[in-house]
Amino acid sequence: MIPVEQLVGLILTAGELLLTCGAEMARVEETIERMGRAAGFVQVESYATPTGLFVSLHDAAGKVYTRVKRIRGGQSNIALIAEVNSLSRAFAAGEISAEEVQRALERLQEQGAPDSFSRKLIGGGGALAFAVMMGGGWREGLVAGVVGTLVLLVVSLMERRFPKVLQSAVGSMVAAAVIRCAASYLDLNVNVAIVGAVMVLAPGMVITTAIRDLLGGELVSGLSRSAEALVIAVAIATGVAVVLSLGGA
């Protein structure tokens, strides 16, 4: 049996992983509650926000363990959310022990996010699809696909070194500039191609989570995530706008 302090840390780590991967608040709090009860605490209180996590666990003897964890922005990773979710369920159902959960969580924490070139190529495929869905032809689609891949490469070079806002702005500037230049050689619908290419930067997951949080009554995180999405969207728009107005659109 692992010591109580470690058990508290374990629950906190699960919450932290979920938050950095962009889970909804309801899921984080539910998971902590579920794991806390399974670990034998009689009362579990948690308060999750996108930037911080507070947990209080009351044991049967009346002792209270309270921890605070500062959450720093991570990357959307739905697979990890699903993993932690099923881990906590298996733990609550008594199928796996606390030690096993700990090992699994450590493994998940280390594994992080492999960022391969193929991921960017696939992202470019998304840009292609969007350009065609917005009414573009194959030419717009192909240009958007190539530029979308390029944008993801640029963003991954800036990863961790620059704030997310700057990443988005620079990414969209690159997209707009390249497509604008390409348009002088090809007969292109510039707008459609640019929309497709910058969609890879759009904060899609943040928006969906923000909606789910807001409508689920999680006002603090709903609003802060909406603000995050808005800031990123404005950054993308500004990047494109700067290039287009320089190019005399």
Partner: protein
């Protein structure tokens, strides 16, 4: 129409990769995305844009909730990439473009349309998830 549905599928699968859904679920994300986009295109002529987006969001959410229950995954695995094709990214872009070109009237029109479309998506998601939460609790515990 077939090409467009395929593109909706492709968009959802690729964005699934960007959001890192479990690899073995990405085809199902694509199905949700393709379905949403097809519903939108089919309904657009009859209901107008906002109504069509609402219907598409509802269809995508229903599909996600069903898949999530059948394959024991969180709903967001399917819903987040699946909803991507109907997100009004193009409208948001055109809004910005109008403002940059100092066409404020057009900009405000597009802005309001974008907000309505976003609201329609939110409504579709929340109504579906509320219905599923209330009526399927007994059949399957948790999501």
């Amino acid at each position: 129409m077939l090409v467009q549905t395929a593109m909706g599928f492709l968009a959802a699968v690729t964005f699934g990769y960007i959001f890192r859904v479990p690899a073995n679920q990405s085809v199902r994300c694509g199905v949700v995305g393709g379905l949403g986009w097809a519903v939108f295109l089919a309904a657009q002529g009859h209901l107008g844009e906002v109504g069509a987006v609402f219907l598409a969001a509802t269809a995508a959410s229903v599909c996600s909730e069903v898949l999530a229950r059948r394959h024991h995954q969180p709903v967001i695995v399917f819903l987040t990439p699946g909803i991507i094709p109907i997100v009004p990214g193009g409208k948001a872009y055109l809004t910005m473009l109008s403002f940059v070109q100092k066409d404020y009237t057009q900009g405000v029109v597009l802005l309001v349309t974008t907000l309505f479309l976003a609201g329609a998506i939110a409504a579709g998601i929340i109504i579906t998830s509320a219905v599923f939460r209330n009526f399927s609790r007994t059949k399957l515990k948790g999501r």
